[in-house]
């Protein structure tokens, strides 16, 4: 369990993939490695978003509150990022995230303030992240167009 391993995990996240490795290492060093016991909550829907989590080991369950009660909508595994929107803007959590019941969930917790501090210092990072977000918008638009076309 070392810094190197965590840096590698960060590199595999598309949002961070193009960032300078030295900065990623700094980000990993500033972040906290956290273990959640099976079934324990990582965060709750409606909480203020203050950090993003990168899954290093185990699985996380995403669920949302609906009028019919809470339903699971997805599972996330190794090298996936949870709640990344929260470190970019002030929105409450849009879903619950819980450690899966099989085994411990190990995450790297990236605090919003630290991440922003890093971006303020290295504007190049901001540009890379902006690009990645724009790419996502393009993808979403394309999917939407395809979905609308398929329907019509």
């Amino acid at each position: 369990m070392s810094l190197k391993e965590e840096t590698d995990a960060l590199k595999r996240i598309p949002l961070f993939a193009n960032l300078d490795p030295a900065k990623l290492k700094l980000l990993a060093f500033m972040s906290q490695r956290l273990t959640f016991e099976p079934g324990h909550a990582v965060f709750q829907q409606g909480d203020a978003g203050d950090a993003a989590y990168i899954v290093l080991d185990g699985e996380a369950v995403i669920s949302i509150d609906t009028p019919k009660g809470r339903i699971d909508i997805a599972r996330m595994g190794r090298n996936e990022i949870l709640g990344e929107i929260a470190i970019l803007c002030d929105v409450p959590r849009t879903a619950h995230v819980t450690a899966a019941t099989e085994k411990n969930l190990v995450c790297l917790k990236i605090e919003k303030n630290d991440f922003m501090g890093l971006i303020n210092e290295f504007p190049g990072m901001a540009v890379e992240i902006m690009r990645e977000l724009a790419r996502r918008i393009v993808n979403t638009n394309q999917q939407l167009r395809q979905a609308v076309a398929a329907k019509g």
Binding site: E6, F29, M30, E37, V42, D47, A48, G117
Partner: protein, 896 residues
């Protein structure tokens, strides 16, 4: 009274000096004139000494001194008497000069203090929107460095030219008296100098500006070349680039050379004219002496006198330059301090007596607020809010609700219409009275660098309640008044505890607890208390109680009543085990340092500590480990600018030390076999200091393994056994049975470390601590320690929601008549927003509450809503009605 100089900040520096120091200036001028008389004597006497005393011309010895026949003296005695007289004249002249200088200094320093104070007072009156255009970065240098230069000149403004010109004039008169022709010769060149020198200087000044411009252009070009270096290389234009720089550097060369030449020309002209004058004296004076119409004494005196002329003349020329500079700087500074629409100075007059209640209805009449000529924030708004009414103010962003809240708090001033509260116009209420009776909290409120308690009490400080305590303070205030500063003692009693409902300072903690509970911050303050420290000698009872809590906590950790939820969350201090969640330094010392020599980096040079390390053969190992840590730190932090907060929070190496460590790394590159070369003492100490900070579980650098831990434990044992008595006294060893003064309350209860990397460990451990403290009725004590917590610069040691809650508590604690809340809970998370809104509505019964919010969904919590759009009040009425009726509120509620 929009921006007029109601406080006497004149446009001209001379007018300013006259306005505030006319009396002192006149007094000094009188002294300067008197000094000239004695100065004249010091010029004139040498002539008599030469002629009468030495040459015995025009006098019969013995001479009757004083003319009363009492002292009859011969030539020698006469000479000595003249010399003594000369000495006395010098003393008086010098003494007067010294006295004038000291008066002048006082005058200048007072003017500087006054100017600074007036500028600061103006900043406090700036219209709030002005701060969007002006940063503190602009204001700070003006109030610190620039004002200082101006202040230095103000003392001199009148005195210096008078003093120097007085000297010149005295010398000139003396020369004319000796012989008109010589007098004329002495001053003949001054008009020429007075004409040429400023002319030449002017050109030098203009050249200086050109030089700055040229250099600025060059730096732009350098940036361009560096940015386009690949293009320059691949397009092969290096020669053209170099030709371009040749040309640009040539321009700078020519400008600089001309400046140099002109400067040396000025010097040459000045020196020549000054030194050329004696030639005239030798020529004309010598001729006159030969002719017999001038004595040798007079000629020598004239020569000496003329030599004396160069100094004041130079001073006058310097003064001319300084005055130009100072006037320009003064104007520039004053310019920045004349914004339109400043708060009238009268509203900042210190007040006495208690503030009148603002418990009448709030009536806005044709209220209009402009940001500037084009932008209208509010237009023609009319409404009445009854005393004690709770009103929501909603509407789209920039539609007028924010402006209304700011105008009610008088942070914006109406440009038309008025707001009246009862029978007073809001525009005429003094700031202190308004501050006492009206509470306002904006969307991101400011927290001052003080304790939590002081921040809460900050809003209770509108007026001073007691006089200065001792003569020393009173004398300081008297001096302050002479410099136009506010003669109120900042150390006197300002906080009006009664306003908060507290009986006295001691009772204030109870009120603070109530208010902080209301805004959902009491728990946080309690947590801060847990992180605080106490001095067990002064608070023996608290320390003993905390030890009892430690024992109770241990029972929850292990033993029959052990709580399974706590398993693995705490690593208790155990003399026989290495603690992965504590630093290596803590593990070795197994205690908390009480003395700086055992603290942090100093430990690496502590001789007793080093001796034990060496005896156990661990020094080299730690140095090698330190080198690895240094490598990582340099890699991680080298790109950050010095002073970045990350250094403080994360780096093992301070920003200032980073270059030194980089140098050490290059000096200590490992040899071919992997071992380190010989490293000198200083470098060893620096490297050794790093791993001591290493917390294995937290930093995850993978440098500490099982064998290393065993060796570290051996060092720990040796330290405890072998340290000399004097050194042992400087460490609070971890002892299960005694209170550790150097550790926080929480650490004293835990007697161990919360494990890193266990999610919710803090929360679970915190809950247990709370239960333990509650069982022992210790919560209030810890809360009081939390109130002592220092919030840091701009409250930076608190989180944004904590700061906001503290600001709301600060507004509530003064129990205002009117509370204006401007999106003040937006920074809180959803659930906290709901709790705090409930608590505020509940806690402001009987007060007028104006709740401006971007969140229209909270409007139904209020009986009445004002809806603003495009600066106009578009809806006003009971929320129930507005919800049902077509209109903006209904739309907004539907959109959410």
């Amino acid at each position: 009274m929009a921006s007029g100089a109601d406080d006497g900040l004149d446009r001209s520096i001379y007018r300013y000096v006259i306005r505030f120091s006319i009396k002192d200036t006149l007094a000094i001028c009188g002294l300067v004139a008197a000094a000239q008389l004695f100065y004249y004597v010091t010029l004139d006497l040498p002539k008599n000494i030469m002629n009468q005393g030495i040459q015995g011309k025009g006098i019969q010895f013995p001479v009757d001194l004083g003319g009363l026949g009492w002292f009859s003296v011969g030539q020698i005695q006469y000479l000595l008497s003249l010399c003594a007289l000369f000495f006395v004249a010098i003393l008086i002249n010098g003494g007067l000069k010294q006295y004038v200088n000291s008066l002048k200094g006082k005058l200048g320093e007072r003017l500087l203090r006054r100017l600074r104070f007036q500028l600061m007072a103006r900043i406090l009156r700036f219209p709030v929107p002005h701060f969007r255009k002006t940063s503190s970065g602009e204001l700070i240098p003006m109030l610190t460095a620039e004002v200082e230069q101006i202040g230095g000149f103000m003392g001199d403004a009148f005195v210096q030219p008078l003093m120097q010109a007085g000297m010149l004039l005295t010398i000139a008169i003396f020369l004319f008296v000796q012989n008109p022709l010589m007098g004329f010769a002495a001053v003949s060149l001054f008009p020429l100098q007075a004409y040429i020198v400023p002319k030449l200087q002017k050109r030098v000044k203009a050249l200086g500006k050109e030089r700055v411009k040229a250099v600025r252009k060059i730096s732009e070009r350098i940036g361009e070349t560096v940015g386009g270096i690949q293009e320059v290389r691949t397009l092969g234009t290096a020669a053209w680039e170099r030709a371009d720089y040749t040309d640009r550097f040539g321009l700078v060369y020519r400008i600089r050379y001309e400046i140099y030449q002109r400067k040396s020309l000025v010097k040459f002209i000045n020196n020549t004219l000054n030194q050329g004058a004696p030639l005239l004296f030798y020529g004309i004076g010598g001729y006159l002496v030969i002719e017999g119409s001038l004595s040798v004494g007079a000629l020598v005196a004239a020569l000496t006198a003329h030599k004396d002329m160069t100094a004041p003349w130079k001073e006058l020329l310097d003064y001319y330059q300084q005055s130009q500079d100072a006037q320009q700087k003064y104007e520039q500074v004053i310019e920045q301090f004349q914004p339109e629409n400043m708060l009238p100075a009268g509203l900042h007059a210190p007040s006495t007596g208690s503030a009148p209640r603002l418990d009448g209805p709030i009536v806005a009449n044709a209220l209009t607020v402009h940001e500037d000529a084009q932008t209208k924030l509010l237009e023609g708004v009319n409404f009445t809010i009854a005393p004690g009414e709770h009103v929501a103010v909603v509407g789209p962003a920039n539609g007028g609700r924010e402006a209304l809240a700011l105008t009610l708090a008088r942070l914006y001033l109406p440009t038309g219409g008025s707001i009246r509260i009862g029978d007073v116009d809001l525009a005429t209420v003094s700031d202190a009275d308004l501050g006492a009776r009206l509470g306002y909290v904006g969307p991101s409120a400011y927290v001052f660098s003080a304790s939590v308690r002081d921040n809460l009490a900050y809003g209770l400080r509108q007026r001073v309640l007691s006089a200065a305590e001792n003569a020393e303070r009173r004398a300081m205030l008297a001096e302050a008044e002479k410099a136009g500063n506010l003669p109120l003692d900042v150390e006197a009693q300002w906080v009006d505890y009664a306003q908060s409902g507290a009986k006295d300072a001691a009772d204030f903690d109870r009120v603070a607890a109530e208010v902080l509970t209301r805004v959902d911050l009491a728990e946080d303050v309690f947590q801060l208390g847990l992180r605080g420290r106490i001095d067990p000698r002064r608070k023996q009872a608290v320390a003993d109680a905390i030890l009892a809590a430690r024992a109770a906590f241990r029972q929850r950790l292990s033993g029959s009543q052990a709580d399974p939820a706590l398993k693995g969350l705490i690593e208790t201090f155990d003399p026989e085990r290495y603690n992965d969640n504590a630093s290596l330094g803590e593990n070795l010392l197994f205690g908390t340092p009480l003395d700086a020599s055992f603290e942090g980096e100093a430990l690496a040079t502590q001789p007793d500590f080093l001796a034990v390390l060496r005896a156990k053969g661990m020094e080299a190992e730690l140095v090698a480990m330190g080198r690895k840590v240094a490598e990582t730190m340099v890699e991680l932090f080298a790109g950050l600018p010095a002073g970045h907060e990350f250094f403080d929070r994360f780096s093992f190496i301070a920003a200032d030390d980073l270059p030194a460590y980089q140098a050490i790394l290059t000096r200590t590159v490992p040899l071919a076999d992997g071992s380190l070369p010989a490293i000198d003492e200083e470098d060893r100490a620096r490297l050794l200091s790093l791993p001591l900070k290493l917390v294995d579980a937290r930093h995850r650098l993978g440098l500490i393994d099982k064998d290393f831990k065993a060796r570290a434990l051996a060092v720990r044992k040796a330290l405890h056994g072998d340290l000399p008595e004097a050194a042992r006294a400087k460490i609070a060893f971890f002892d299960p049975d005694s209170y550790n003064a150097a550790a926080s309350i929480q650490d004293n209860i835990l007697f161990g470390r919360v494990a890193y990397g266990q999610a919710k460990a803090q929360a679970t451990v915190g809950q247990t601590i709370r239960e333990v403290l509650d069982a022992l009725a210790l919560r209030e004590r810890v809360f009081e320690i939390g109130l002592d917590f220092q919030t840091g610069v701009a409250g930076s040691r608190l989180s944004a929601p904590q700061r906001q809650k503290l600001a709301i508590a600060r507004a509530l604690v003064k129990r205002p008549d009117i509370l204006v809340m401007n999106d003040s809970i937006a920074a809180l998370d959803r659930s906290a927003q709901a709790r705090v809104l409930d608590a505020i509505i509940d806690g402001t019964r009987g007060m007028t509450l104006v709740w401006a919010t971007q969140d229209a969904t909270s409007a139904p919590r209020f009986a009445r809503a004002l809806v603003f759009s495009d600066g106009r009040l578009v809806q006003d009425g009971p929320v129930e009605d507005l919800k049902a009726r077509e209109g903006m509120l209904k739309e907004m509620l539907a959109a959410d």
